[in-house]
């Protein structure tokens, strides 16, 4: 299983390396005898591909398939669904922040994250409203961060 992960990730990074190599080639590796703008991405891309291949090959040679000291299993079941919900909420935040505005988006985001575990709706609503108001006062009023108003333009 762990071998499988190294295979997957090394192929991913090799692909990234190849893409940057192509880009670097396109921008020009050499211009009139000296390194051009594509030089570093091209060379580093090749290095990344080479390292990925070394990882891949060492994974096939190393039949033991032991996990590295810093590797953890991916969560499954409930934990995985929580992670996916949070990531989904983050993506949604990015998408709706400008059209709906900071207040509405943050309020909805708070509700989703607090609902990860079953809790009383009253509690969730109160905390979400309180947190949104707190952030609004702190960032928009006190620190003057220009947050998008969206729906609640005033």
């Amino acid at each position: 299983m762990f071998r499988d992960r190294d295979v997957k990730s090394s192929l991913f990074w090799a692909l990234i390396g190849i893409l940057f190599c192509i880009g670097g080639f396109h921008y020009g590796i050499r211009r009139s005898g000296i390194p051009g703008p594509g030089f570093l991405p091209f060379v580093t891309g090749i290095i990344l591909v080479a390292l990925s291949l070394i990882l891949l090959i060492s994974r096939f040679l190393d039949r033991g398939g032991r996990a590295g000291p810093k590797e953890e299993p991916m969560p499954g079941g409930l934990a995985l669904s929580r992670i996916l919900i949070v990531l989904g909420a983050l993506c949604l935040y990015v998408l709706i922040l400008e059209p709906l505005g900071f207040m509405v988006t943050t309020f909805l985001f708070m509700i989703v994250l607090l609902r990860l575990e079953p809790r009383k709706w009253m509690f969730i609503l109160l905390v979400s409203i309180g947190a949104t108001a707190f952030f609004f006062v702190l960032f928009k009023v006190l620190l003057r961060v220009p947050l998008p108003s969206g729906l609640l333009a005033y």
Binding site: G17, G33, K70, E71, L90, L97, L147
Partner: protein, 500 residues
């Protein structure tokens, strides 16, 4: 007499009321994030970076540096009281500190770690004052080949010391360099990998990347487990002072920890965890009762905590004299200085003595504040730990989102953060360290410039890096480090951070 003149200048700047306030805010935030798991110093510095746009460079540097070393203090509190290291650097403190707390000696453990931190930190600052000027003078002579070799050496050290698989660390450094290529090319002004997105022409910012790679994965992995109650030992502040016997047992570890921590902390990449690991290993070897380690030995708290702070402060030397950040948090700090139009490096001391010495003065002041602040406020920090994580995590995420958005008022930055968050979470699970990527991202543009300028100088010949003595030494050491695991260990796996 130079020393005294510098000291005077340092304190004059540090004691300006606004700077004192910034220092206070910095160390307070630092302690806070040190206590809270799920929010590290690098994320916090990244978060508060937009806030500093309205401050002067000196003020923002003082505040952000305060967060960095404040977090070194704060991490020990939670290690001792709840066995949850707030930061990776206080993992060793948890071993004996928590055992001391279990025996009802939480007070002396907290006390000795605060005093040890203070002594280690102050010792390191004095050495910074003594060592930084000659080092910076030496570094002023560096031309492009030396700079490129130095950054290459920095990459190598960081990948070598970040633990785990060396190949994966190297891959992350390469990925960081690639990401740093996004944006306008410095020499020919070509737009690279921007795909017509205006925000990308300035390059990928360090702040959203750091928040994504460090902040979000930490929160996500904490959310995997259902929320639980945190058990905290009750302590009274009156019991905090260590007894005479405690001092006797800790003075040796503190002295050794200061020196060891400082030396280890000077190496790029070693700043975070290694000083305390080494100190713990050293104290156990030197102790007359090695069997007591792990069961609540005060030397096992005093040494690592001291080394941790001495090492953290020492990491400012490569940053301020060579422009080489040793840890992700310092990389963000460097990014902050660059936003204010300053480049950390040998010229900083000469061109901005106010900033350089003011920052160092503020470190003395900040360390003193931390001791005064930490001991009486331990009760408050412990209460903070009782805030359940299901409440804390959405709040931290919203702060990250606001912070990323406020950089340029653009959703692009937010998107970068979220993508890095997903990537960082999976990278964590798959054993890819994020630190080399972040450092490479910050140093990438400088590396590229010095590399290409060197090659222009030499008309494309790589020999230029080997004919100049300083760059030759740095490149040869780096290459030796990179090749050594292949010779000594098949498969290139380096098991770092065992400490023994």
């Amino acid at each position: 007499m130079d020393f005294l003149a510098h000291l005077q200048m340092a304190f004059t700047v540090a004691f300006e009321p606004m700077n004192l306030l910034m220092c206070f805010i910095g160390v307070l935030c630092g302690t806070l994030v040190g206590v809270l798991p799920g929010l590290g110093p690098s994320t916090t510095i990244a978060l508060l970076l937009p806030v500093t746009f309205s401050l002067s460079a000196v003020q923002s540097f003082i505040m952000l540096a305060g967060i960095f070393y404040g977090a070194l203090y704060g991490g020990s509190t939670t290690s001792i009281l709840v066995n949850i290291p707030g930061e990776a650097s206080s993992v060793m403190t948890a071993v004996d500190g928590y055992q001391m707390a279990k025996k009802g000696r939480a007070g002396p453990a907290l006390g000795i770690s605060a005093f040890g931190s203070f002594i280690g930190g102050t010792f390191a600052i004095i050495l910074i004052m003594l060592l930084a000027p000659p080092l910076a003078r030496m570094a002023l002579k560096f031309a492009y080949p030396e700079k490129a070799a130095l950054i290459f050496f920095g990459f190598t050290m960081v990948t070598y010391l970040s633990g785990g698989s060396l190949i994966k660390s190297l891959m992350m450094a390469a990925a960081g360099v690639l990401l740093s290529c996004v944006g306008t090319d410095l020499i020919t002004a070509t737009q690279r990998f921007t795909f017509g997105i205006l925000e990308l022409s300035d390059g990928i910012g360090i702040v959203p990347v750091v928040m994504g790679l460090f902040g979000i994965p930490e929160i996500l992995s904490n959310l995997e487990k259902p929320s639980r109650e945190v058990k905290v030992f009750e302590t009274k502040t009156s019991q905090l002072l260590p007894s005479k016997q405690d001092w006797k047992e800790s003075s040796g570890p503190i002295a050794r920890g200061s020196i060891l921590g400082f030396l280890v902390g000077l190496f790029p990449g070693a700043g975070g965890v290694l000083p305390s690991f080494f100190s713990y290993a050293l104290e156990r070897r030197l102790s007359k009762h090695p069997e007591r380690f792990g069961k609540g030995e005060i030397a096992g708290v005093a040494g690592p905590e001291t080394a941790n702070n001495a090492g953290g402060q020492a990491a400012f030397i490569p940053l301020l004299t060579l422009g080489l950040p040793c840890t992700p948090a310092l990389a963000v700090l460097m990014g902050a200085l660059m936003i204010h139009g300053l480049t950390p490096g040998p010229l900083l001391m000469r061109e901005n003595p106010q900033l350089f010495w003011g920052a160092i003065g503020s470190m003395y002041v900040g360390n003193a504040m931390l001791v005064l602040l930490n001991l009486p406020l331990i009760g408050l920090w412990v209460k903070l730990l009782r805030v359940p994580y299901y409440l804390l995590s959405p709040l931290i995420l919203v702060i990250c989102l606001i912070g990323a958005y406020s950089l340029n008022n653009s959703v692009v930055e937010l998107l970068i953060m979220v993508i890095c968050g997903m990537l960082g979470y999976v990278m964590n699970k798959y054993g890819y360290p994020a630190a080399p990527l972040v450092l490479a991202l910050v140093l990438g543009p400088m590396f590229e410039e010095s590399l290409r300028q060197s090659l222009i100088m030499s008309r494309g010949s790589l020999a230029v890096f080997f004919t100049r003595p300083i760059s030759a030494v740095l490149v040869v050491i780096s290459l030796a480090l990179l090749i050594s695991p292949i010779i000594f260990r098949k498969g290139g796996r380096l098991q770092g951070g065992d400490g023994l």
